[in-house]
């Protein structure tokens, strides 16, 4: 328990004194996972909307694939993205492996099915009569879609929160495609793993506290947005 105490003290001190290394790691974590979440929204929301509102052969099959993707293990994503980004791989010419961009790609792949799946679920939950009503009032297709998305905004923000939560907390993909390079791709989760293997438990505990705080504050901000009257 002494360890936990000294870890908490360390976390507090790091935050107060603004330890530059910790500050950089925290900022990078926020930036990488934030960008990945935004990209996943660009893919996930339109895709989820199409899955919810259109009828085409294979739709249910596709939906089941997306729902499976919601539980996509980060290490699996990490491995496959690595293979593509290797120098000898098909995208090797981009030189992206072991850069923050590689982590963003991997995390966007992890978050996209989550956002798509939750978007589809949110939109399907809306009473179908509402859609008929909106249409009857003479709304165009675009207006109708916009109103439906607005109707589902609580659930959509929940999708954003879930997507961000999944990527900010994953370590497998970040480790594999980022390489935990100091000052470049070291994020809070990979730094925590490294500090544990170095035996620096107090630093590891401090980093874990910072990660949870970061995650909480971001979610708090999103929740306030969601609950705004």
């Amino acid at each position: 328990m002494e360890l936990v105490y000294s870890g908490l003290v360390k976390a507090f001190r790091m935050l107060i004194t603004g330890d530059p290394e910790v500050y950089r790691i925290t900022l990078l974590t926020l930036r990488v996972s934030g960008t990945a979440t935004l990209i996943s929204l660009l893919f996930g929301i339109p895709f989820g909307t199409v899955l919810a509102f259109t009828k085409f052969p294979g739709r249910r099959l596709l939906l089941s694939v997306v729902n499976t993707g919601m539980g996509l293990p980060p290490v699996v994503v990490g491995l496959w993205i690595s293979i593509f980004l290797w120098r000898s791989g098909p995208l090797g010419f981009l030189g992206l492996l072991y850069t923050p961009a590689a982590i963003i790609i991997a995390q966007a792949v992890i978050a996209s099915p989550i956002v798509a799946g939750l978007t589809a679920a949110a939109l399907q939950q809306i009473d179908p009569k509402l859609r008929l009503q909106i249409k009857a009032l003479g709304a165009t297709g675009g207006q109708c879609l916009w109103l439906m998305l607005k109707e589902a905004r609580f659930s959509l923000l929940a999708a954003v929160i879930a997507g961000f939560g999944a990527v900010v907390s994953e370590v497998g993909a970040s480790m594999m495609v980022g390489g935990n390079v100091k000052g470049l791709t070291r994020v809070l989760t990979t730094a925590t793993v490294m500090e544990v293997s170095k035996g620096n438990y107090d630093v590891a505990i401090a980093l874990s506290v910072i990660l949870v705080l970061l995650s909480y504050l971001t979610t708090l901000w999103l929740t306030l947005l969601q609950q705004k009257k």
């Binding site: 960008t35 935004l38 290797w86 120098r87 030189g95 905004r153 390489g179 390079v181 490294m194 170095k198």
Partner: protein, 298 residues
């Protein structure tokens, strides 16, 4: 209706500001690092170093890499993995330079011309650690082979890395030397790094083979002590080598060459010899550049 519109606008505004915030964060990245006397940036500054976890976990690279970057202007991406994986990265041409401690496996890469400019850098030693009660009576043994045989005979818990790292390769070789094949409930593979494996051994009251540097760095958190050390077969030898630039055109051979030269430079060698003395009262590594492998630890 107008009210909801405003709300949505606010939401959009918030999202937009979030994007801006993130982008502005990206821009900060480009800031030149402080420190006036830096070397000119080479044409291809990115250098990928694949190395073993012990060089990172002991903190040695945190001392050496900044020196190298300052002196040459290269930007090193250190990928700390097991030696097995580091060598595989070299074989595939996914790294530019390697720093590993698995001489038997390294020699194969040298023979196949996967790597060039193969240089001895430093050594320390492997030690056998275990619970203070020493149920297998390893402390009474004379050679490493006998020590391993004693653990085998008593079926005391032994935690193996099981990850094809340099330490794991050494451990497998020692079992072979002892003439036994470890198998059964008592022989457990952690599949993780040295630090984690030491933790597991400590929690389970088992034995494990570790490099001295990682053990010294973690000793205070462990209920383990050294039960066998000093045998010549326990030497832990580190080599640095360039990945053969003919493998693919993305290999940064100039940077790799500069790194190899840096590692065997006398100033760097002195830093290696000094490293850890302040904190642990004894050095974690011994400098070896210029020696032949037979002379090491002699």
């Amino acid at each position: 209706m107008i009210g909801t519109k405003r709300k949505t606008k606010k939401l959009l505004l918030a999202a937009a500001s979030a994007i801006l915030l993130l982008l502005s964060g990206c821009a900060q990245d480009k800031e030149p690092s402080a420190g006036g006397a830096q070397a000119e940036t080479p044409a291809n500054p990115d250098l990928i170093l694949a190395t073993t976890t012990s060089t990172q976990d002991s903190g040695l690279l945190d001392v050496l890499i900044p020196e190298f970057e300052k002196a040459t202007g290269y930007k090193v991406k250190t990928i700390a993995v097991g030696s097995g994986q580091a060598l595989a990265m070299g074989e595939k041409g996914e790294a530019d330079v390697l720093l590993t401690h698995a001489p038997a496996s390294e020699k194969k890469l040298v023979e196949n011309k996967d790597v060039v400019n193969y240089q001895l850098v430093m050594h320390n030693d492997f030690i056998l650690v275990g619970p203070p009660s020493d149920p297998a009576k390893v402390k009474e043994m004379e050679t490493a082979a006998e020590a391993f045989k004693a653990i085998y005979d008593s079926k005391s818990i032994f935690v193996s890395r099981g990850d094809d790292s340099g330490t794991d390769k050494k451990e497998k070789a020692l079992w072979e030397e002892a003439g036994v094949e470890p198998e059964g409930q008592w022989y457990q593979e952690s599949g993780s790094g040295m630090g984690q494996t030491l933790n597991i051994a400590s929690q389970k009251g088992g034995y494990t083979l570790t490099d001295r540097a990682t053990f010294l760095a973690q000793k205070e958190n462990l209920k383990l002590e050294i039960v066998f050390e000093g045998d010549k077969s326990l030497l832990n030898i580190y080599h640095v080598m360039q990945v053969n630039p003919e493998k693919n055109d993305k290999i940064n051979s100039e940077g790799a060459k500069a790194f190899v030269e840096f590692m065997i430079d006398s100033k760097t060698q002195d830093m290696i010899a000094e490293f850890g003395k302040d904190e642990y009262g004894e050095p974690l590594f011994f400098k070896d550049a210029g020696l032949s492998e037979d002379q090491v630890g002699g």
